[in-house]
């Protein structure tokens, strides 16, 4: 099995993978970073969204080996020095989560939206930009409110 190394949440990591090992499997099974979830097998639910080289991607649809040497940020790496990221804070403040399963992917996607679209987001933009993330609990109402508020605080 080839060994790969990458930077995950600021830490250099390495591990053996097969060609077929998905990035999400590497994160969860090899690194124990179980905050990134798998909610589907057709690349649609977005529970697995992480940041690779600064951009949100679906880690269930990327080979770990293709991400060798990449800089990866997962939900576990969002808070800095024990201080929550403003988007994490906003999800709590606005009750933007219920069961919590889609939440890591939602938050990572939301941070990415702000990077691309700026801190001042209207409801239509947020709803449209969340097309790659599915939530079954919240009806999105409070997620939209959380993203809007979190963006403003970033």
């Amino acid at each position: 099995m080839p060994a790969i190394s990458m930077k995950v949440n600021g830490q250099a990591v390495c591990g053996e993978v097969e060609g077929r090992t998905l990035l999400v499997e590497f994160l969860r099974d090899k690194l124990g970073l179980t905050g990134t979830h798998v909610g589907c097998d057709t690349s649609q639910c977005g529970a697995c969204v992480v940041e690779v080289n600064g951009k949100a991607v679906k880690s269930c649809t990327a080979l770990a080996i293709s991400c060798a040497d990449a800089d990866v940020t997962t939900i576990e790496g969002l808070a800095q020095n024990g201080k929550l990221h403003p988007m994490q804070e906003a999800f709590r403040e606005h009750h933007g989560l219920q069961c919590g399963f889609c939440t890591p992917g939602m938050i990572m996607a939301a941070v990415d939206i702000v990077k691309r679209k700026g801190k001042s987001l209207d409801e239509d933009t947020i709803r449209h930009e969340l097309e790659g993330n599915i939530c079954r609990c919240t009806g999105y109402h409070n997620i939209v409110a959380a993203v809007k508020a979190g963006a403003a605080n970033m």
């Binding site: 649609q44 808070a79 219920q98 919590g100 399963f101 009806g139 999105y140």
Partner: protein, 789 residues
């Protein structure tokens, strides 16, 4: 109710969120045990077939394979089949016809995805590869997937039910209802299909079973809404091990919506087979495609309904006949869903003197059908609110005023279908909803839409539901195999912090916060000094779990009762320490005082005194401060409300946009409005999903599931729905001390009818089938366009 602080009525931010927003949740698939193996299930590719042989010899030689097991192995160990826990009797008195449901198929498969064999291997990939190498030969049999045509179909699914009918059940007075129809001024008729749904909690089901030979003890981690019920069933019916030899843990669970109530084959297989492989843990996590195939589905009713009205527009009679799909096997609570959770709500919010309903429950070659958010009550609301709306249109009455004219106004109100509504004010909710939805100015908005070439419609849904499930004696008399009380234990630590052990299970509902609010409020202690413990049969003695919007009304009432006992005991301790009579001790805001003196003790001091036990006679007062309670409700609770949907349809494409959605609900007293609103939002979107997007489709010819992934099954996304306008009214529930009703299912119960009444209003047609996808709307419009040309 206060809106600040951490007590009852406050919008307290959730305590559980810290772990979820930082990726530290602990879901079953996040757990890995030492020496763990992986299971992969061999599933039926056929809707209905006889298994002629299973040859696992080649698969057994594949790399990493630890064991392969079939129904024969299960039978050898005398492990029982899956059960349905509610006995329904047909109207002729005969018991329901339940076929066997082995945890691995024996002789026959009955739906695509049926569990045939399990492969256990060192890794998930190895298990999956070997599963593909298990050779199963089938003789394909005729199949039927459509409930409308399944009764008497040549595909005979179970020997026990030769015509595929499980039961023919009825409720109400048929003769009196027929008489009401005879004297009716007007009769409204409608045929409705309540489309089959796939629950799709975002966390796929998962299980880890392990066996400790040293202790002769099993442990099962599973994605369950009710771990104690799972333990009870696996012990008592599957016969795996007595309850003290089986621990079931349901850690963080990523949504349930009913689908994780049931005891499923996969979890029983994992925990059973662990012993077979020498005690190594066996883990299984469903792929989403397996969730589609093998989670219990919801709804799937075909209904004909007729409503009689008199010359004054008063409803005088209501008749309903429903064919309800059960799928290929009876799932854990399948039989009560289209009967006691459905037809008992057919009176809606209306004073209807005569109701008669008949339900045929029918096997089909599909995944089992069981409770899904609302469970029977969305189906009932759909029938009632669609026919009421239709009747109003036929009678040329305003749909709001037709409803108001027929509302129940006196409480308690005994319906002709068992339920006794205890409290409510339906007109108040209607008024508030009309106001928020700006009903009066709807014609202006309709005209504005028309100018843009769009069709605008408005629709009502005045729902009622019965939840807070359920009074044990009542449901026992109706066939339930269990009681539906709840338990709680309150443990006060010597420093005054509190642990509450509850039999409820939180999988998104926020119990760690709302339950702590109750404790904080009652004991006057910091909410951060309260921990809620749930989901582990080794920690919590017993409980019935979370479903049927029961955790507030039943689960919290149990906690409240335990808190009563804590307070009483603490008063005795405080009295002893302060050398006063217990009758003179008062407790308020976390402080014990002695009437008429300046003596006082903080709650923490009393807790410490209870454990130090120096200052009272322990022959009279036992040391310690720990109390438990079981609460069995005396009635269901009856949340009700009025939802109003407004839609705008693009006739060029058939796309329906939900322009606005108003929900006014009466949940009685509310512990945490923030959480309650969240429950309503989520429920509404599940209902919008049912109305406009989601429809499970099996191919009639092949029996295959066509909507087997998110590529074909449309989950509502953020862009498909608007933000919602919510309002609340409050008539406290008289049957529990907190005055609470349930809020978990209301949105999903009310919204399909509101949306479809709006869609049919926009198109000016009697019915459009759900889901009213763009294609369906476009098809509906074609003959109308042609007629107009």
């Amino acid at each position: 109710m206060s809106d600040t602080g951490t007590g009852i009525g406050a919008r307290v931010k959730r305590k559980e969120d810290q772990r979820f927003i930082t990726g530290k949740g602990n879901y079953t698939d996040d757990i890995n045990l030492p020496k763990q193996t992986w299971a992969y299930f061999v599933r039926s590719p056929h809707a209905h077939a006889t298994i002629t042989s299973i040859d696992a010899s080649a698969a057994k030689k594949m790399p990493g394979v630890v064991g392969i097991f079939t129904g024969d192995d299960v039978a050898e160990d005398k492990i029982g089949g899956l059960i349905c826990g509610w006995m329904i009797h047909s109207k002729d008195g005969s018991p329901m016809k339940a076929g066997p449901h082995p945890i691995l198929a024996v002789g026959k498969v009955r739906y695509v995805g049926d569990h045939v064999a399990v492969v256990v291997a060192e890794t998930k990939d190895q298990a999956k590869a070997a599963a593909a190498a298990v050779q199963v030969d089938y003789d394909v049999l005729p199949h039927v997937v459509d409930v409308a045509h399944a009764m008497g179909h040549k595909a005979q699914i179970h020997d026990a039910a030769p015509d595929n009918r499980v039961f023919n059940w009825s409720i109400g007075d048929e003769a009196a209802t027929d008489a009401a129809f005879k004297s009716a001024a007007h009769v409204t008729k409608i045929d409705l299909v309540n489309n089959r749904l796939i629950p799709n909690a975002m966390e796929p089901r998962a299980a880890i079973g392990s066996y400790d030979s040293g202790m002769d003890h099993y442990t099962l981690y599973t994605t369950s809404q009710n771990p104690h019920v799972a333990r009870l069933v696996i012990s008592a019916f599957h016969g795996l091990a007595p309850e003290h030899k089986l621990r079931v843990i349901a850690p963080d669970v990523g949504g349930g919506f009913g689908s994780k109530i049931f005891i499923y084959a996969e979890e029983v297989v994992c925990v059973w087979a662990s012993k077979r492989i020498g005690g190594r843990p066996i883990k299984w996590t469903a792929e989403r495609s397996e969730s589609f195939l093998a989670d219990a589905h919801g709804r799937d009713h075909v209904t004909h309904a007729e409503m009689a009205t008199d010359a004054n527009g008063k409803i005088t009679g209501f008749k309903v006949h429903t064919k309800a799909a059960m799928g290929a096997y009876l799932s854990t609570f399948a039989s009560c869903v289209p009967t006691y959770l459905y037809a008992t709500l057919l009176s809606g919010q209306y004073a209807i003197p005569n109701i008669y309903a008949e339900v045929d429950a029918i096997y089909t070659n599909t995944a089992p059908v069981d409770a899904y958010r609302g469970a029977g009550r969305p189906e009932a609301t759909y029938v009632v609110e669609r026919i009421v709306e239709t009747a109003a249109r036929e009678l040329k009455m305003d749909p709001a005023e037709f409803r108001r004219k027929n509302f129940v106004t006196q409480f308690p109100h005994q319906t002709p279908v068992i339920m006794c509504y205890d409290a409510g004010d339906y007109s108040a909710a209607l008024d508030k909803a009309l106001d928020i939805a700006e009903y009066k100015s709807f014609p202006e908005r309709k005209a504005a839409s028309a100018k843009k070439g769009k069709l605008r419609g408005i629709g009502f849904s005045a729902y009622i539901e019965a939840c807070g499930i359920a009074p044990s004696a009542a449901i026992g008399s109706l066939g339930a195999g269990v009681g539906l009380w709840e338990s709680a234990e309150v443990r006060v630590n010597p420093v005054g912090t509190v642990e509450v052990l509850t039999g409820s299970h939180s999988h998104g509902q926020g119990h760690e916060t709302t339950f702590a609010q109750l404790v904080s409020d009652r004991l006057g202690i910091d909410i951060n000094n309260v921990a809620i413990v749930h989901g582990d049969t080794d920690k919590v003695q017993f409980g019935m779990g979370t479903y049927g919007s029961r955790s507030g009304a039943v689960g919290m009432t149990a906690i409240s009762k335990a808190l009563d006992k804590i307070e009483a005991k603490a008063k005795r301790v405080a009295a002893a320490v302060m050398e006063a009579s217990a009758d003179d001790v008062e407790f308020k805001n976390g402080t014990f005082t002695v009437k008429g003196t300046d003596k006082k003790m903080a709650f923490g001091e009393v807790a410490l005194s209870a454990y130090v036990a120096h200052k009272f006679n322990s022959a009279e007062i036992e040391p310690g401060l720990k109390e438990s309670a079981f609460h069995d409700p005396s009635n269901f609770v009856f949340p009700a409300g009025v939802h109003i949907a407004e839609v705008e349809i693009d006739p060029d494409t058939g796309v329906t946009e939900v322009s606005s959605y108003t929900a006014v609900d009466d949940f009685g007293n509310v512990i945490n409005p923030m959480i309650v609103e969240g429950q309503v939002h989520g429920g509404i979107v599940q209902g919008i999903g049912q109305a406009l997007a989601e429809g499970c489709v099996y191919d009639a010819e092949s029996g295959q599931l066509l909507t087997g992934s998110y590529m074909d099954y449309q989950m509502p996304r953020a862009a498909n729905v608007p933000s919602f306008k919510l309002g609340f009214t409050c008539t406290p529930c008289p049957s529990n001390p907190l005055g609470m009703k349930g809020c978990g299912e209301a949105g999903a119960i009310a919204s399909p009818a509101a949306i479809m009444n709006a869609v049919t209003n926009a198109l000016d047609v009697k019915d459009v089938p759900m889901p009213a996808t763009p294609h369906v709307i476009w098809k509906t419009l074609q003959p109308m366009k042609k007629a107009a040309e």
